[in-house]
């Protein structure tokens, strides 16, 4: 039986179908989760997709933090379940304090959509273990508020503990230390701004590198099963 990845739909989620497609093409089984349900039973991992969860005009992800489903996701993440947040999902993870730092308005003040080269800085997370460290991947980045910021102390700690997961080759938004994605201490929770789910088919994406994200979590989960 293949792994079941729950994809949360907030009312303003936009990339939930795309995430489901990516999970499916990557060989796992997508399961739809609703923001107002406390139940996420039966899933082996959670994907928080891009979009504007509750009409994120105030601050992206600020309201989603208070959703039913996030309480459950938090508990599951604490218990070691793999959780990935992409774009708005990353913002939600930061706002929910599952990941450090914050994502603020791009330095150039515009929403910008472009294929973006990223370096995979560590394979020691549930969502990147299928990549060679240092591999370059191309995912579309598309956001207006994706500039990663945190205290210098927090940044140093992230660097020292190998928790910077993705770094921009050409920083598109002014993120501190070119950070595109980070992970939790245990490495099971990963957030990144660019969109792996839009890089899963040669026909529609700039690459198929996004499939590596799904391959990673599958490998992580199957290892867990062996153990």
């Amino acid at each position: 039986m293949s792994a079941r990845i729950g994809i949360v739909t907030f009312p303003g989620s936009l990339d939930d179908r795309d995430a489901a497609r990516a999970v499916y093409l990557g060989g796992a089984e997508p399961v739809r989760l609703w923001h107002d349900d406390a139940q996420i039973s039966g899933v082996d991992g959670v994907w928080l997709p891009g979009g504007f969860s509750y009409g994120d005009y105030l601050r992206c992800g600020a309201i989603a933090r208070f959703s039913q489903v996030m309480d459950t996701v938090k508990a599951a993440a604490d218990a070691g379940m793999p959780v990935i947040g992409v774009c708005n999902g990353f913002q939600v993870l930061c706002e929910s304090h599952l990941l450090p730092g914050a994502l603020v308005r791009n330095a150039h003040l515009r929403y910008r959509n472009a294929p973006t080269r990223l370096r995979v800085e560590t394979e020691r997370t549930a969502w990147t273990r299928a990549f060679e460290p240092g591999t370059e991947v191309v995912f579309p980045a598309k956001h207006g508020e994706g500039r990663y910021v945190a205290d210098e102390a927090v940044l140093d700690e992230l660097e020292d503990s190998g928790r910077v997961v993705f770094r921009y080759a050409d920083n598109p938004n002014g993120s501190m230390r070119d950070i595109a994605g980070v992970c939790s201490e245990a490495g099971n929770v990963v957030g990144l701004m660019p969109h792996p789910e839009h890089a899963v088919e040669a026909l529609t994406g700039p690459s198929t590198d996004g499939l590596g994200i799904v391959a990673s979590v599958l490998s992580h989960l199957s290892e867990g099963a062996v153990r």
């Binding site: 009312p11 303003g12 936009l14 990339d15 179908r17 795309d18 497609r21 107002d36 891009g50 979009g51 504007f52 509750y54 009409g55 005009y57 003040l109 515009r110 929403y111 910008r112 959509n113 472009a114 579309p140 598309k142 207006g144 969109h195 789910e197 839009h198 899963v200 088919e201 026909l203 529609t204 994406g205």
Partner: protein, 765 residues
Amino acid sequence: MTRQPLNVAVDTVGVATATPDEKQPWAELGLKDDEYARIRDILGRRPTQAELAMYSIMWSEHCSYKSSRVHLRQFGQKNPKTPRLLAGIGENAGVVAIDENIAVTFKVESHNHPSFVEPKQGAATGVGGIIRDIIAMGARPIAVMDSLRFGDIDHPDTARVLPGVVDGVSHYGNCVGLPNIGGETVFDPCYQGNPLVNALAVGVMPRARLQSMQASGTGNVVILLGAKTGRDGIGGVSVLASATFSEDGDEDSRPSVQVGDPFEEKLLIEVCLELFDTGLVVGVQDLGGAGLTCALSETAAAGDGGMHVDLELVPLRAKGMEPHDILASESQERMLLIVDPANVENVLARAQRWGLLATAIGEVTDSGRLVIDYHGQTVVDVPPASLADEGPVYERPFTEPNDLALIAVDRAETLPRPTTDDEIRQTVLDMAASPNLCDKTWITEQYDSSVFGNTVLGTPHDAGVLRLDERSGIGIALSLDGNSRFARLDPYVGAQLNLAEAYRNVALTGATPIAVSDCLNFGSPEDPHVMWQFERAVTGIADGCQKMGIPVTGGNVSFYNQTGREAIHPTPVIGVLGVIDDVAKRIPLGLGRTGDTIALIGTTREEFSGSEWAWATHRHLGGVPPLVDLDHEMKLADLLASLAGNEQIAAAHDLSEGGLSQALVEAIAHSGMGAQILLPEGADPFTYLFSESTGRVMVVIPRGQEQAVRASCEQRGLPITPLGVADANTDGLHLRDHFDIGREEILAAWKGRIAEKLGAQGAAG
């Protein structure tokens, strides 16, 4: 605290009957004396305030098409009969069948004046409005496109309007989650003070889900879904769309502006689709330009003819709104639903699950009247068809502008041209750097293009291509084009050239064009010269569509795009929809692989009148536009579909503004490859590079397919001329015997121009 106590004196039907001589401001509301008299005639009394507001709105140019209607009839009369057309003109948007199961609906609409007054919100609500038209047909919106026209790029007001408009299109489309798959950006001083913002939306549905806007079934409940009603744009779109701006832009006369809430619109999409899929609605109508007034009267008129509404039930956002305010409000993100009483609870529950307000405000009746009560007192009692269908129709006078003959002899073919290789080389670069031809990435990168994961081709391709079905690979192509300089020189030919370009752009992806939507942007219909341009353009499009066998399925007319007596160029913007059986076989932009043959299909004539070259280098507009040959366009489309189907073509690009020179620049820029070009013997390099003869495409033929492609062309009587080869080792453009331009030099000219002019602006908002 949404309901207010009834403490104001309301003008009821009873009051109106008792006070027949009460003076009413019909003229201020834009009604003519005879129109007011007709209203009194219809009602047998003076209208109440609310009724007067409703008639003035529904009988406005914007809602009644009173000046254009007599001409638009041609579309219906000349439209080719096709079994594909499931819903046509008169519906919220045209619907065409794609295969046995899938239908697609698309439409282009303008939001010009509001985008001048408040660029960001004007453009944003324009996108929101056209999306609701698509929802109302039963479809899930799947993409948008935008056709934008601004004044001179160096004019200070362009620095205000352009970034705002782009921000608005971007904000709304991105938040509601629709990929932007193309459009155009044009600069011309004629749009100074009258920018054009035309937006297209496209949606997809199972054929069986097609919705109706009928309020049928006596006893069925009328539900208002979505945002609360506020004072937004009261007298807005309608009055706005029919008012010429006074030359000294009086700030206080600026009408109130609508602000859009794309998150709310996203909820509307999800709730409506859920209701359609579960069969819970009988009828549906979006609330657009004329708010409740339009939605109530149109659904009632299209259905059983009667409706009763209790207006105080409408949830309000602002205090102190009177009945006519509520009826005229243009608050965004609202839809009207007609629901069987047995399903009401279910409908309300589903709306609530998504966090959307839904309120029963009335019911369908068999009275033949639209009756609106306010706190129990009747404020409206009218036959709904008198509002929706029986507005005034004008036969406005039209005459050919007297300057046209003079303009026709002022031919661009006689302008001084670059002659030496160095001059021509420089012209290639100058043209690439000109505002209309330069790279538009600064704009397009502000738009999401990949959400939904079905965008197979987006900008900067000639047309957007979307996959509709992952299993079968079937998809659609869409292009949105206009060339108002040609239309200014000859509106009939110009409109057909526009049509031909959009048609060709769709064909260039390998898709087969099947349907048209158009947005007609013109000056004041009260000017006989403008009216003549309008009549000629409509006739051109109708004749062209008849000839090419593709129906006009809907569109939009925007008049009064003028400041004082200065009208914009006649600007028909045409959207063509095509179908492609397997999106994997689409033809991309670029130069294929090293060794592939670059060839030109079509005939290059000495045609410069109305061209980008004449404009960019001489600020010249005169002469007669290039020849249009629709037969040829149809053969070309047939050829391209066949080459794509047989995978005999590696890449292709339209030759339009800027001619072959610009096509090469773009192909080189996008592919990262170089091109070695050898012009045919005896060809004049300048003419060959810059002529804008239409019906031409540049194709890239994979090695080994040259013979087959040549045969396919000959079989269809299409002239094909080999031009050279694609080569990864050639740096940029090598024009044998003439000059070289390196890739970096090409990019330096072509890229970054918009940012240079506007990048620093508009950041404060």
